[in-house]
């Protein structure tokens, strides 16, 4: 197990997660916000595989697989919702979608 120690993978996934969170909070267009969610999910997958490589068992892989399946389903539904929002309103800019604020 000379390869790369576990903590490097964890640091990498932590930084990736942080980038995803930053992207989610600070980007204006919904598509980029959605992409940062995908980044966060990838960070989670990375740490799962790193832990399961550490434990030499396949459960972690399976969890990652299910996370990917769910991410795909969520992307399909999410983009469909984004589509309906766009059809009703020309912009995809988050700040302008605030008719519910009063």
């Amino acid at each position: 197990m000379q390869g790369v120690p576990l903590s490097w993978y964890l640091i990498l996934s932590a930084i990736l997660f942080a980038l995803g969170v930053a992207g989610f909070l600070f980007r204006r267009s919904i598509i980029t916000v959605f992409m940062s969610i995908e980044l966060m999910l990838n960070a989670v997958n990375l740490s799962f595989v790193a832990f399961s490589y550490q434990f030499k068992q396949v459960d972690g892989h399976l969890f990652t697989f299910f996370v990917m399946v769910v991410a795909a389903a969520e992307a399909a539904v999410g983009l469909a919702i984004i589509l309906t929002v766009f059809r009703n309103r020309a912009t995809l800019n988050i700040d302008e979608i605030n008719s519910l604020k009063y």
């Binding site: 640091i11 990498l12 909070l25 940062s36 595989v49 396949v58 988050i94």
Partner: protein, 169 residues
């Protein structure tokens, strides 16, 4: 030694792609950089002997979801959106938060270096089967229920997306 080299290469791909995804003005460029980042992550999976996940990552994420993203970007022709200001409020706030999160993670890793002692796992014998076969055994025996529920999940996704996308249902 070779592994560390590959690790740095893929890590660079992943982090570079991620950083550029969230900073690009044009949505298509963000999508492309996201694909690069996903390929980096796939490489890292491979580095950890998870061939099945490497394949699924490429097919599903890059092949499926990113195609969907590009479709949506094409569909809603985001170029005027590109001209608008992309960052909300002050971007140094973003950097501040990023620094905070990075510091916190570093704190965890350094302080917790010894904390990562895990429950002593019994050394499972390296089974002759390949990664996918092992996964198949586990998937269809102990994790049978999540497998069946995944089909229900996909059914809900089909209903949801078609109901939302179709003009007149």
């Amino acid at each position: 030694m070779l592994d560390t080299a590959f690790f740095y290469a893929f890590a660079l791909l992943v982090l570079g792609g991620a950083l550029l995804t969230i900073t690009q003005r044009n949505a298509v460029h963000s999508a492309i950089w996201l694909i690069v980042s996903l390929i980096g992550v796939a490489g890292l999976f491979l580095l950890q002997k998870a061939e099945f996940l490497f394949a699924v990552q490429i097919i599903l994420y890059v092949g499926g979801i990113m195609v969907l993203f590009l479709f949506v970007i094409m569909l809603v022709n985001l170029d005027e959106a590109a001209r608008e200001r992309q960052f909300r409020g002050r971007w140094w706030v973003a950097l501040g938060c990023l620094a905070l999160v990075a510091a916190e993670t570093a704190y965890f890793v350094i302080k917790g270096r010894d904390a990562f002692r895990f429950a002593p796992r019994p050394e499972t014998p390296a089974s002759p089967l390949g990664n996918t076969e092992q996964l198949a055994d586990v998937l269809f025996s102990t994790y049978l229920l999540p497998f069946e529920l995944a089909s229900v999940l996909l059914l809900v996704a089909i209903v949801g997306s078609v109901v939302m996308a179709k003009k007149r249902i």
